[in-house]
């Protein structure tokens, strides 16, 4: 860098040279600031992404080593009933997960009412599920769902409803796990929506009540349209998150549970193929198909947003 310090010349070319020197200097500074992160991302993210693509065209032996097998993994994926059911289960988790949004909206609207007391206490309590570890949350809910001594069955019996073995019964397991997923995200969605609600000018509501619009009417004609960009953002996050469901199913269902085929998600199947069966070529192909699904679904959401998202 020392040569940069040379005395500035007064020749006509000096301006160009000075500019070139500034450019070089900036590049060096950029290297210093961005270089470490860029190197880390290259080694741990970009290179692995390229490798993943390559691995998806290979077959892995039992003791390491892999051979090229072209599109075989993808052909096999298309005919694998486990893959089909994993995608169906994941889609159900994703659709059910969206139920978190209307629940959060209702709570956010109530907490944002003028004069509401104890807002921060409620907000803190409702946000707890989002900050706590899914692995621990899964254990807590397994206990609540327990067929014989679980609190949920006890309360249900109290009001005259027979209980169920919620997470080992193939008919109820998926809904039971999805409910825990909703439970974990309601608080987060609510906090983001409360921030969005604060940004809506009170003038709209004042004008509407002058005109005699009921609070319900105001909610649907003012709150919902003005909050739709926030709802859109949250629905994209919710869908992308649900499509990658793993922790809850891994911890609540487990590999000996009879309801596993009805609850196994794509990422769970990926984990099983990659790290239990050591079929890593097949697993990477599965992960890539999931990526394509995520991209496609997100693209559809962006396409549909014109129909319902209202930007001021």
């Amino acid at each position: 860098m020392l040569h940069l310090r040379q005395a500035p010349s007064t020749e006509p070319t000096s301006r160009r040279r000075r500019r070139r020197r500034a450019k070089l200097k900036n590049t060096l500074w950029a290297l210093l600031f961005i270089g470490p992160t860029a190197a880390g991302l290259a080694v741990f993210y970009i290179w692995p992404a390229a490798q993943t693509l390559y691995f998806s065209f290979t077959r892995w032996g039992a003791f390491g080593g892999h051979t090229w097998n072209g599109l075989d993994n993808y052909v096999q994926l298309a005919h694998d009933p486990d893959v089909r059911s994993a995608f169906m289960n994941t889609i159900w988790f994703t659709l059910l997960g969206l139920l978190s949004l209307p629940i959060s909206l209702m709570l956010a609207a109530i907490l944002n009412q003028r004069g509401r007391k104890g807002v921060s206490v409620y907000r803190t309590l409702m946000f707890l599920p989002f900050v706590t570890m899914p692995a621990a949350v899964a254990l807590i809910w397994r206990w609540l769902y327990s067929g014989d001594y679980g609190l949920i069955n006890y309360l249900l019996r109290h009001v005259g409803i027979g209980g169920a073995y919620w997470i080992s019964d193939p008919r109820t397991a998926l809904v039971a796990v999805a409910a825990v997923g909703i439970w974990s995200t309601v608080g987060y969605n609510m906090v983001i929506m409360m921030a969005g609600l604060k940004a809506i000018s009170p003038h709209y509501y004042e004008a509407a009540s002058m005109d005699g619009a009921s609070p319900i009417r105001q909610f649907f004609s003012i709150t919902v349209p003005l909050l739709s960009p926030t709802m859109f953002f949250l629905s994209v996050l919710s869908v992308v998150g649900s499509l990658q469901t793993f922790d809850l199913v891994y911890m609540m269902i487990g590999h000996t549970n009879p309801a596993l085929p009805q609850t196994r998600t794509v990422v769970y199947l990926f984990y099983q193929k990659a790290f239990i069966e050591n079929d890593r070529g097949y697993a990477t192909a599965l992960a890539l198909v999931l990526l394509l699904v995520i991209i496609a679904v997100t693209a559809v959401q962006f396409r549909l947003q014109k129909r319902w998202v209202h930007y001021e």
Binding site: Y45, P48, A135, A136, L139, V267
Partner: protein, 284 residues
């Protein structure tokens, strides 16, 4: 009682709806936070007590034997330490590295900036499990499996953090930096003395999110650690469940150790956490 034609009609409505609305809030808070209370209470009950019908609310006798069993079954104290080291290493590294990169993208004009930033953005879009097999191979090649660095090494770098802080830096006024530059301060000093203090809310938000994600992460630590002395708590809970399948008092004791520190920290800093997360929601 009501005068529907006047604005007072609304007040009438609100007064009527109030107890019901309040009930909704109480019920929601109970459903969302109640399970943690049940976790806490169960962890002090005996196995026979949790089999009673009707169930008891408070333990008839508060006993710590579940915690004894827990620490005998697994090195839970070491796991706790591992979780702390993992979360602190990832969070600390990201705060430094991401803020530097973010400053570079936001304020240094270098050739190819948009292209490099585009590559960063594309990393942001790739879901983590897609990279896990090659990342695992790297750890294996470096002989880092079952070591603490394997837990945090990839997580020290983040395209998300860089993006988040870049957005934050772009929103800061340029005047202060210009003045410092005229005084001859170099970019490193501007970054350290001017930008970082101004970026405190953004750093806070990134720090909180990264800490939570690292603390709660399951899939990555699950595959790189098989030795219980190197596991963080999340994987520890999975092995605990393998040993004590339906011994819920012991399982709840383990879950409590993994959740209570975060709950306490959250309650102490709830304003910053909620604001920080709302901030990333609006920027992201």
């Amino acid at each position: 009682m009501s005068r529907p034609s006047s604005p007072g009609g609304e007040r009438w409505y609100r007064r009527l709806g109030s107890p019901g609305v309040h009930g909704v809030l109480v019920a929601a808070a109970l459903v969302l936070a109640g399970p943690f209370l049940w976790e806490f209470l169960t962890s002090f009950k005996s196995l026979t007590e949790i089999g009673q019908i009707p169930p008891t609310l408070l333990p008839t006798r508060w006993q710590a034997s579940n915690y004894d069993a827990l620490f005998r079954a697994l090195p839970f104290a070491t796991m706790f330490e591992n979780s702390v080291i993992n979360a602190v290493a990832r969070t600390g590294a990201q705060l430094v590295l991401c803020s530097m990169a973010a400053y570079g993208f936001a304020r240094i004009d270098f050739p190819g900036r948009n292209a490099v930033f585009g590559v960063f953005l594309s990393v942001l879009l790739v879901p983590s499990q897609l990279l896990i097999i090659p990342q695992y191979q790297i750890m294996q090649d470096l002989h880092l499996l079952n070591t603490l660095p394997a837990l945090f090494l990839p997580g020290m770098f983040s395209a998300f953090g860089t993006f988040l802080l870049r957005q934050f830096f772009l929103g800061l006024p340029k005047e202060l930096e210009e003045a410092a530059r005229l005084d001859g301060a170099n970019p490193l000093r501007i970054y350290w003395n001017i930008m970082l203090p101004l970026a405190r809310p953004g750093l806070m938000a990134l720090g909180i999110l990264t800490f939570l994600w690292s603390w709660n992460d399951l899939l990555w630590p699950l595959i790189v650690t098989t030795d219980t002395r190197k596991m963080p708590l999340s994987v520890g809970l999975a092995s605990l469940q393998g040993q004590y399948t339906t011994n819920y008092p012991v399982l709840m004791a383990g879950a409590l150790i993994a959740t209570l520190p975060v709950i306490v920290a959250f309650i102490i800093m709830q304003k910053q956490v909620v604001e920080g997360i709302a901030f990333t929601g609006l920027k992201g």
